[in-house]
Symmetry: C2
Subunit: 499 residues, 2 copies
């Protein structure tokens, strides 16, 4: 006899099939779409989104969830699935159709005016539509509901359970800790990284990128890499997880670390349990945890001396001319250069968190109403002066640089930083748990690390929350000090600072 | 005030969006899919198919159609859309869910055992599942309904309005006409085509294929070409029509004419009116008319002396070594070589129709019950001996060669031949209507021909049936004699036969 729980599973798998179909259309849009068909494609994706939404908010489904929740015939993992789905169901059904349409129109307008403003390098073209979207996001926070800060409602979308109270703590620690280290570093002689900006032919970069992915354990039987304007990872199931990269022939670093970063995301998705397809227990925990996987590979592994002591001779085979006079140590220092900049996506490992902090502070004020689109630019420029000591030269290199707000994604940025902080905390634990991890990396062996990530994080889907997984794996909640430890251990020797 | 007709349009566009999403998933499956994700992808496609079916067979939609049909506020074109949709609606709702599931399982089984039989080169592994599928197709014909022959019900799926009575006439004419010409040709000295089987590097073939498509007027802003195992054309709207090809480095002809053939299909799809998206008035008329477009480009244009008098010097630039000693006339003769063979897809322009005729005769008997899967192979081999004079060496080169039956596609094959016959009749009319068409082709100008096809055929979608469009364009119903005229005019000079 079929269990009632199976009805829930079928419904969730149906919705997942629709969602992943949208992801296929979206991937194809970024990778393959002929110029003339963007409008039609967006419409086709919107139709599927509408169907997925209808399926998910079906009142019968709500009743099924409420009926299942207290049942004794389901186990703990199943109950957790029902709980998490019911939370999403309640959130989704709180929005009236009228609001959803209004928000989607506002996003569409804001995105278009952001694009126009980028072209004209003029924030003024964007300000009204952004303000309109901000008002809707504040309305959205009220609809979702919150206990302390309206921003909490939006943070929860990307990082379930995250709050301003907690993030304030983390970012305050980060602000203080990073300030000292960065000040010491910038007083030292700068390292050179110009060798990364020589001419590196596209085909060879591409081939090296594939070697990097293979070395990480990315499974090409369950995915592929393609070229797109902005690198991304997408999953159509754990059996089809695709990454994209871009190749700048005058910047080797661009492809290399985007490849490792996306590879880290992809390993998480390929590692999610296939048997739990469509269910919370088969899905990634949060954007922060997702980012912890990409950052761990990108930085803890992919900018470590051990990793490159194995990989650098291989890289040299692709580009013997460019690198023949660059020794490993010089390469290692160059790829870890610290210098302030006004572009987040080009920031180094340390300054990066000031970029996020600035956005975090601004978003908090946007959400509590103390900033609006008109006053935002001045505040942006002021904070860049304050935290990074840079004068924003123009809007494109300032407030217009990120796409996120034009998509209505307020609350997204903090997940980048906490991802890095989780990465440091996880990696420290992995070093404890895996004998001679760094020596293994120095021999090109990444399999034990991947196995550790699978067992501790990937395998569980959303069965544990971000907080729970962090406690389970490291014995503690997320703490900034592990990132600081990592940063000191790495950068002090590079910059010849006292340890 | 919105018209009731607009509700119909919205519904049809929604269904089209789902259908085209399936097409994107299917294209991606053929072109990009990682090995390990075929099963999940099929499931995702099945989910969308189920949703599309539910949407289309929604009783409310049926009521809307019936209400709209007699309304005075709709124009003739709109009424034609409603009529055609209602016909499909009635057909779709005649099938009980139980039957649809049974059929889909039978197809799945038959496809798998066909694949296994192909691998073992043994028809016996396929025979039971094929018989099961045959029985279901006979049941399907009864459910659809027919006036004279059960086969008519299936023919109508692919070629609306086609019947055994008409096709018997056409194929009888073909059988007689072709027999004489082929007998005369095979008594002559054979032409040489071995130069096509030299080594032609993949990249250069690919580039030449793109040049061919551009020359035809295929719009790369509204489509793209990729590689797949079997060449095909797919459309996600008239703004995104994609073709695929395959490249055999030891056979230049394989890529070249599959490219032109698929290009012909694609020009039809790119030419369908974008404003009629999702409606019959924006869709291709029938498989026969579709095939007329591909065959016209492939044969009337793409195997003509005029076309190659322009294109051959260009081809030679790609492969100067291979072709330096081959003069245009020798090339032209070589690409029009006539010789019997047992593989349909490798057949020449004349023998091809015997391959189709054989399948037509067998399918008729399958449908009236005088043949079954067990007796089919003997009948197949006997007809190949009778019509083509060849002894089938094994099952893979005989009854197992086509995928169609394993998909349950009975009634599909005849559209290949009538497509060729329509092509000849249309092209003859185009030559009358377009001054100096052949001279234009000899100068590489295809735009007038494309414009003619657009105006006479593509622009109308399904507003006229195949029969109506043929009468409108050529003043006559489909007649085999125009193909015969074309064949005589072309092959008699090549083989030095009296005209």
């Amino acid at each position: 006899m079929a269990r009632i729980y199976d009805q829930y599973v079928s419904k969730m798998q149906k919705i997942a099939d629709i969602g992943h179909s949208i992801a296929v259309l979206s991937w194809d849009k970024e990778v393959n779409l002929p110029k003339g068909s963007a409008v039609r494609r967006s419409q086709q994706m919107a139709t599927l989104s509408g169907i997925a939404h209808e399926e998910f908010t079906d009142p019968k489904f709500g009743k099924l969830l409420k009926r299942l929740l207290p049942m004794r015939t389901i186990n703990d993992k199943e109950r957790k699935n029902i709980e998490l789905t019911l939370k999403e169901y309640k959130k989704a059904t709180r929005f009236k159709k009228e609001f959803v349409i209004r928000r989607s129109q506002a996003i569409s307008k804001a995105y278009h005016s952001w694009t126009a403003a980028r072209q004209a390098n003029d924030y003024n073209l964007y300000v009204d539509d952004l303000q309109n979207l901000i008002e809707l996001k504040r309305e959205e926070a009220k609809i979702i509901g919150f206990e302390q800060h309206p921003y909490d409602a939006l943070l929860d979308i990307y990082e379930p359970g995250a709050t301003v109270v907690e993030l304030d703590q983390i970012f305050n620690d980060a602000k203080k800790g990073l300030k000292t280290l960065i000040r010491e570093i910038t007083s030292q002689k700068q390292v050179k990284s110009s060798f990364l900006k020589k001419y590196y032919p596209k085909n060879k970069q591409w081939d090296f990128g594939l070697e990097v992915l293979k070395n990480m354990g990315y499974d090409f039987n369950l995915g592929r890499q393609d070229i797109s304007q902005h690198p991304f990872t997408t999953s159509f199931s754990s059996e089809d997880v695709r990454v994209t990269t871009r190749v700048d022939e005058n910047d080797l670093g661009n492809m290399t670390w985007s490849c490792i970063h996306e590879g880290g995301h992809a390993l998480y998705e390929q590692g999610l349990p296939s048997s739990e397809y469509g269910l919370p227990s088969g899905a990634a925990i949060s954007l922060g945890i997702h980012e912890s996987q990409s950052r761990l590979w990108e930085n803890q592994v992919g900018r470590s001396k051990e990793y490159w002591s194995f990989m650098y001779p291989r890289l040299k085979k692709y580009f013997p001319e460019n690198l023949k006079n660059i020794k490993l140590n010089k390469f290692y220092k160059g790829i870890n250069k610290i210098a302030p900049n006004y572009i987040r996506t080009e920031a180094d490992e340390l300054h990066y968190h000031y970029h996020v902090l600035i956005r975090y502070e601004l978003e908090k004020k946007i959400m509590d109403g103390s900033l609006n689109a008109k006053t935002l630019k001045t505040a942006w420029n002021r904070l860049y002066k304050k935290y990074l000591g840079v004068v924003i030269p123009d809007d494109n290199q300032g407030i217009l640089q990120d796409i996120h707000w034009s998509h209505g994604s307020f609350g997204y940025f903090p997940t980048y930083s906490i991802g890095s902080f989780y990465a440091a905390q996880f990696f420290r634990q992995a070093e404890k748990d895996i004998p001679k991890l760094k020596q293994q990396l120095a021999r090109g062996k990444t399999d034990k690390l991947l196995k550790w990530l699978r067992k501790n994080i990937h395998d569980h889907g959303q069965t544990y929350s971000a907080k729970e997984i962090c406690e389970r794996v490291t014995g503690e909640p997320l703490r900034f000090k592990y990132f600081m430890e990592y940063a000191n251990q790495k950068f002090r020797p590079i910059y010849k600072l006292k340890v």
